[in-house]
Amino acid sequence: MAEYLRPSSLEEAAGMIAAHGSTLAIVAGGTSAMRFAVPYVAYAMGVRGLGMNEIERSSGGLSLGAGVTMRQIRDSLPIPALQDAARGVGGPALQNMATIGGNIFAHPPNGDVATVLLAMDATVTFFTTNGERTQKLEEFYDSGAQADGLLTRIDCAAPGGELVFLKCGRQRFNSRTVISVAACIGLDNGKVGNACIAVGGAGAHPMRCAAAEQALIGRALDDAAITAAGDEAARASSPGTDAVASEWYRRRMVATYLCRALRQIAAG
């Protein structure tokens, strides 16, 4: 059984991560780590005591401590897409525990909140033994989701357009994710000015979908453009098969749900 470590500062936590490497599991809310990581490692490091649960707002943007829970997102954030994503994670007890930081590291197809954060072009900040390091969430995932320290903070600017999150699940609440989509679309004179599209459950981690974004930028948000974006997203997806849904179904739902999200935005 893993030895339980309780760092009292970020420095101490970063030191423990550096010292124990892959033999250490980080326990924030515990909802994933306690089941999938802690039983297989020598050290479990609890970070709840480090706080990191502040929500700060500045000029429309947000700075979220990595320990902010799903419950806090539901209760305190004025961004419906994030609230919707948080609401879909487990039941009330789990939402009181699960953190936004944990969601970024969730095993696919989970990671609904992270999918929205990708569509918000969020950045993540790690506290390492060499100090703070900030990078785009997208880059973090693209570089293999390797953390060299403790994830402390997620920052995002105000959404650059209409932001919608949709989740495909088999139950209305507390459903394992089949796939999820988040789209942030800025319309400029009836044409798509900027598009930020993310898909969850369609690969090893939530991913931005540049091809779908390109299919929209500069075009009117009409049926043809929406269908094209859906098709691109499905093509770019490489989902897995599990007990809940097959690869075939997931790929199809990526297109279906992205189209629904975009139509919702088009309808205003």
Binding site: M1, A2, R6, G91, P92, A93, M97, N174
Partner: protein, 161 residues
């Protein structure tokens, strides 16, 4: 902090647990302290049968390291039984036949208590959503929802008097 002594208050009583290794709150409550209302339905965070209240917040004790609740107040159904506020809810459960095998019931009682603490007048949909983390394999949920609706209506009636 590294001493391995965890101090918690359970149902109003101060307790100390000595452990250096990861130990779940569920294990401590059920097996060290004999609070057997804390059921072990899955130990995976999937069924809600082990639900308890930590510092006023509903939690799954099976996924909570006891070290993470050091200094906290923990309430199990045994603790709720000590207050009068749950009696009316329990009576509604009995009236509505809202339990059959009874294994999920302690977790349900705790989850409903937490719901009513947050929202004294939940709608039917809010009640159903609040039960999303608590699985019942016997009743089909409807009698449970009806029991909660009925206690809500009764509370509203009392408040309106």
């Amino acid at each position: 902090m590294a001493s391995g002594i965890v101090s918690i208050k359970v149902n109003g009583r101060a307790e100390e647990v000595v452990t250096g290794a990861v130990t779940t709150l569920q294990d401590v409550l059920r097996n060290n302290l004999d609070y057997t209302s804390v059921k072990d339905g899955c130990s995976q965070g999937g069924c809600g049968a082990c639900s308890v209240i930590v510092d006023g917040e509903l939690r799954l004790s099976c996924l909570t390291p006891v070290q993470e609740v050091d200094g906290s107040e923990v309430v199990t159904l045994e603790g709720l039984n000590l207050s009068n506020s749950i009696t009316a809810l329990q009576q509604k459960f009995i009236e509505k036949y809202a339990a059959q095998c009874g294994f999920c019931t302690p977790g349900m009682m705790v989850a409903i208590t937490a719901l009513l603490d947050r929202n004294a007048n939940p709608s039917r949909d809010e009640i159903a959503e609040a039960l999303a983390g608590n699985i019942c394999r016997c009743t089909g949920y409807l009698p449970i929802i009806e029991a909660v609706e009925s206690i809500v209506a009764e509370m509203a009636g009392i408040a309106g008097d």
